[in-house]
């Protein structure tokens, strides 16, 4: 074959590097730079999709070793099914985002150096693809760190804002601390394997003593958990994602976080081959907590990008719930059931990439059109930006896991695997644990829906709340195309989940030894089944068909029946007063009931300042200030850093400037050493 996997991979990498460099060197002509940078990224993304699908369908891994070695370590890429799946996901999203970026980058022309943006953007994709394609831990860490570095630089791309700088700093430091744990895990594996290649790791990993395995497991959980943003390691996420340009946030949130999932799955399933039951329970618990906390904090946000970032925390939690239950089943040796959980998790990886990407692009479009990310200043955008509105709505429905969109299918599978925990006769505790986790997932889903009713409703419906929103215009075609692509995929994978699930078969086959045939119904393309019991099926496409058909019937019936049907446009009833945008319900007020219900979690604070003309009847002005307590920052992070800085400041006293003291140090050292040597 002319186009082998190897050459395709080289093409992908080559395109990305060329695109980045071309974009960088044409920075004096911004338009050209943008065109070059994103065109190459697009081509690379297309090739990446081809490559990923090729491996997934043909099933033969792509192996590529670089012609030079570093420190005796062969530098190799190895794209197995798991890598291929993530590669496809990354490429898919990057394709949409790159199309979107043609128009979006125009926002930065004249303001910032778009050549740098093009360079970093391509490098970013390159680092992620390289990461999932890595065949050895050295390569993995190399690309992992490169990815962190590049994404940091992208986060601080708009660095004139001090908040952005701070966000970038917190991000890069937390990531780095997470990386520390990954290093530890890999070094422990290296000690056993004597080599850094993942194949050697897998050989050695399966036969490690339990305590070392557990240590490695905990290290990767913390390490990858930091990147994935599991609670309480998530605090960088809502700071960093909003700071980056929106196309980058889409990629960061949509796929960069997933590289952590990739690493976790790779190490826990492929290298360690699963472990004791409590591993799975831990992952499940972390997932549940992250999902809930993520969505709750998301509800309290009215910065659209921060809101979306918190939803990433939530969705990572959902992914982990699937993976956690798979781990539990694996621990009990039930691979058939484990497949369901793993499929659920991995499918959600894809789905989250699509709809979160879509939503971030939507947020980017809104910012592009209105210059604000504060949803309290928006409103009425659906009329002004109908396409963006439609796409955002689709994204909102998908992320709320509503049928017939893709989010529903993966969440359905997650529900199934959780219920199976209860009925799979895994021991009495799981009878309670499984359904309760399921119920909490339901709560998460419902809160997510509430959050997106807020996000969509406040931004797109009713009247604009500011002049910026009033004057918004629909975004350029390229941006709409990028969003449309993702929106279509959200629907497509929602109604034809079989396509994805059958592709995932190769992946589960390689990780668990069992394909996903059991998750596919009899009608291969129509159904998703769980291994739970007979008839536990969902068939999204027929459901959609039914909805469409009945909707048409209902529509026609309403048109036909009755005398009424004339429509008169009039003002909104407002107790007889003229309605102004100031009277509209705001995002803050929308989320207030939830804030009050969960006040133990949020610890809301409010200050009301009233300025009276005549106390206590006539007020001149009322100032309302509400906030919720950032618990994790206040309890964990701030005290730790403050202690550390205090400690460092104290230690600085050692270098007091006195030469006599310095000589004293030498004196003491010498005396101590002399005594030591005696």
């Amino acid at each position: 074959m002319l186009l082998t996997g190897n050459s395709l991979f080289i093409v992908v990498v080559g395109l990305l590097l060329t695109g980045g460099l071309l974009s960088f060197f044409t920075q004096s002509k911004p338009k050209l730079s943008v065109a070059l940078g994103f065109t190459f990224a697009n081509l690379a993304a297309v090739s990446g999709i081809l490559l990923g699908l090729w491996v997934l369908i043909v099933g033969t891994p792509v192996d590529l070793t670089l012609p030079w070695a570093i420190v005796g370590q062969a530098l190799m890429f190895s794209i197995g099914p798991l890598s291929a799946f993530f590669l496809t996901v990354i490429s898919l999203l990057c394709l949409a985002v790159s199309v979107f970026s043609y128009g979006y980058a125009a926002e930065y022309i004249g303001k910032n150096n778009v050549g740098i943006l093009g360079l970093l953007y391509n490098l970013f994709i390159f680092s992620m693809l390289g990461l999932v394609a890595s065949g050895s831990a050295l390569m993995f860490l190399f690309f992992w760190e490169l990815m962190s570095l590049v994404s940091y630089l992208l986060v601080v791309y708009d660095h004139r804002d001090p908040k952005v700088r701070r966000a970038g700093f917190i991000y890069v430091v937390m990531t780095h601390i997470g990386t520390l744990f990954i290093f530890l895990a890999f070094f422990l594996l290296y000690q056993a394997a004597g080599d850094f290649s993942f194949t050697a790791f897998a050989t050695a990993g399966h036969s490690l003593p339990g305590s070392v395995k557990t240590l490695i497991f905990l290290f990767v959980t913390i390490g990858f958990g930091t990147k994935a943003g599991i609670v309480p390691l998530h605090i960088w996420l809502p700071k960093a994602h909003p700071a980056a340009p929106s196309n980058v946030s889409a990629i960061m949130s949509g796929v960069m976080l997933k590289t952590a999932i990739y690493g976790l799955v790779k190490v826990v399933f492929e290298v360690l081959g699963g472990g004791p039951v409590w591993w799975g329970v831990l992952i499940l618990a972390l997932g549940t907590v992250s999902a809930l906390m993520g969505v709750m904090y998301a509800l309290m946000e009215h910065d659209i990008k921060r809101l979306l970032a918190y939803h990433s925390v939530e969705n990572i939690g959902i992914i982990l719930m699937g993976i956690g239950s798979a781990l539990i089943f694996l621990a009990y040796g039930n691979k058939t059931l484990a497949v369901v959980g793993l499929t659920a998790g991995l499918f959600h990886v894809l789905n989250h990439a699509l709809f979160k990407g879509l939503l971030f692009l939507g947020a980017g479009s809104i910012h592009f059109a209105t210059r604000t990310r504060d949803i309290e200043k928006l409103g009425g955008l659906l009329k002004r930006m109908p396409w963006t509105g439609l796409f955002f709505l689709i994204g909102s429905l998908a992320i709320s896991a509503l049928p017939p969109f893709n989010g529903f299918v993966s969440e359905w599978l997650t529900f199934q695997s959780l219920i199976m925990l209860g009925s799979g006769s895994l021991g009495p505790g799981f009878v309670v644990l499984g359904p309760v986790a399921g119920a909490l997932l339901a709560l998460t889903g419902a809160l997510a829906a509430a959050c997106f009713v807020k996000a969509f409703g406040i931004q797109f419906l009713a009247m604009p709340r500011s002049a910026n929103a009033e004057n918004a215009r629909e975004v350029p075609l390229s941006m709409r195309l990028g969003m449309a692509f993702l929106a279509v995929l959200c629907l497509l994978f929602g109604i034809l989940p079989g396509t994805v699930i059958s592709l995932l078969g190769t992946v589960t086959e390689s990780l668990l030894g069992t394909g996903t045939a059991s998750v596919l119904g009899g009608n291969r393309w129509l159904d998703v089944v769980s291994a739970l019991g007979p008839g536990t099926v969902v068939s999204p496409l027929p459901v959609l068909g039914l909805i469409a058909l009945l909707a048409l019937v209902v529509y026609l019936f309403t048109r036909w029946a009755g005398k009424g049907g004339t429509v008169r446009i009039n003002e909104t009833w407002n107790c007889g007063m003229e309605l102004t945008p100031k009277m509209e319900y705001t995002a803050t007020s929308f989320s207030k009931p939830i804030r009050m219900i969960f006040k133990r979690v949020f610890l809301p604070k409010r200050e009301i300042q009233t300025d009276y003309v005549l106390k206590p009847y006539f007020t001149r002005s009322i100032k309302y200030k509400g906030s919720i307590k950032p618990v994790f920052e206040d309890v964990i992070y701030r005290p730790t850093t403050q202690w550390f800085i205090k400690f460092s400041n104290k230690l600085r006293g050692l270098q007091s400037g006195s030469i006599h003291l310095y000589l004293g140090y030498i004196f003491v050292t010498l005396v101590v050493l002399l005594i030591f040597a005696r």
């Binding site: 030079w68 570093i70 420190v71 005796g72 050295l138 860490l141 190399f142 690309f143 760190e145 490169l146 962190s148 570095l149 630089l153 601080v156 660095h159 004139r160 001090p162 700088r165 970038g168 700093f169 890069v172 430091v173 780095h176 601390i177 990386t179 520390l180 290093f183 530890l184 070094f187 422990l188 290296y190 000690q191 004597g194 850094f196 550390f644 800085i645 400690f647 460092s648 400041n649 230690l651 600085r652 050692l654 270098q655 030469i659 003291l661 310095y662 000589l663 140090y665 030498i666 003491v668 050292t669 010498l670 050493l673 002399l674 040597a677």
Partner: protein
Amino acid sequence: MPLLLLSLPPVIAVLMLIVNKRKIVTVLNVLGSLSIFVTGILVARRVFTTGPVQEWGQVIYIDALGAFIIGLISIVGLLGALYSISYTSHEVDSGKVPEGRLKWYYFWFYIFIFTMLAVVMANNLGIMWVAVEGTTLASALLVGYYDKHSSLEAAWKYIIICTVGIIFALFGIILLYVAAVPILGEGSSTLDWNNLVRVSQQMDPKLLKLAFIFILVGFGTKVGFAPMHTWLPDAHSQAPSPVSAVLSGVLLNCALYAILRVHLVVGKAVGSGFSSDLLLIFGLLSVGVSLPFIIVQHDLKRLLAYSSVEHMGIIATAIGIGGKLGLYGAFLHMLNHSLTKSTLFFVAGNVTQKYHTKNIGRIKGVIKAMPISGPALLLGTFAIAGVPPFNIFISEFTILSSGFAQGKYLPSGLLLVFVTLVFAGMVFAMSKMALGSPPGRVKYGEPSRWSAVMVLIPLVMISVLGIYIPGFIDNILGQVVAVMGGGR
């Protein structure tokens, strides 16, 4: 050839005093540094291709280890000398330093290079000691070059502390001599390293232990091992930036080289555990002590100086960890640190010349103000903090993997934690300077085109070395490791 290498710097230094015009000084500097570079590389190449070189009787002895350091001196010396051109002329033009002092700058610079070369090439440990002391004396005046309060203070501390240290080292060498005399007899050849290392197993281990302690404390002061490192941030921050680069980049390595020479002798006699463990302890202590100073640092160049303490600590730890891979990593790290630190000191030079301050809090938006130094500052910081695609990542990775592979969890783990926290400190400070909007008083542009180019050269080198280690470097490091007893 080695003799030529050794005689070139003093000749150039003296010539510097003779000429008077700035242009001629510059030309002489370029020619001189290039010739030293070429000769140095040729000497090193000869060693690597044909084995250890002895010349002038037994006075000069260069093996792979020495050749490696000679290579470092050549490269960093060249970079420093070339960067000095734009740096010093800017200082003269802006009236900070009278033009007459320029030739003294170069005089001491080349004397400094000479003393360092002498350290490496001397076979006789006594002569090596003299040369090490010579480096202190030569560079002390470079540290005090600005004749400001702070630079005088730094120079004074530098010379006093290092001299005190070095006296201990001398005592250690005498003890070594005492131990060697019963076997080798009296005479100057007794202190020749190649003789000592040959008979090391027959020497009195107790005496050797004592000797090593004195030498470790003595030369360790010069290396910047905590807690004897106190002179280092002062000196490095007060010296002119090119000199800081040479101080950090090679002088510390030269001092470490001196310790390693003795380490090799002592290690064979006492069993490698003793001296390796001491190196490990001092290495980790240095990394740990530098950490808080990096976290809460207000001075750009002091920050870099503490980072040097940290990196010398890493190298020492790596040697202490040992093993083929550990030693390989150690010397790779030596190379990487020299290049990266040079980049950063050059950047710091440019930045201070632009912003007229070293205070981190007063420097902002370098990326916007300086098209090359700005990104270089950011990238260099990540490089020095061990992030790919830069070279230090590779060497730190190698060192740590060696540590874990040998089951030395505690030191390796500690090292990893320290390095991670240092990363936070470095990035915090550097991003504060690099990002944001520059203050209005700062005009766009580099101090000069030349100074920008001089930042780019090492930056490119560290980037390339981060993804590709050429075969010859691999070969060189293999030979160095062999000298260090790590096997091939």
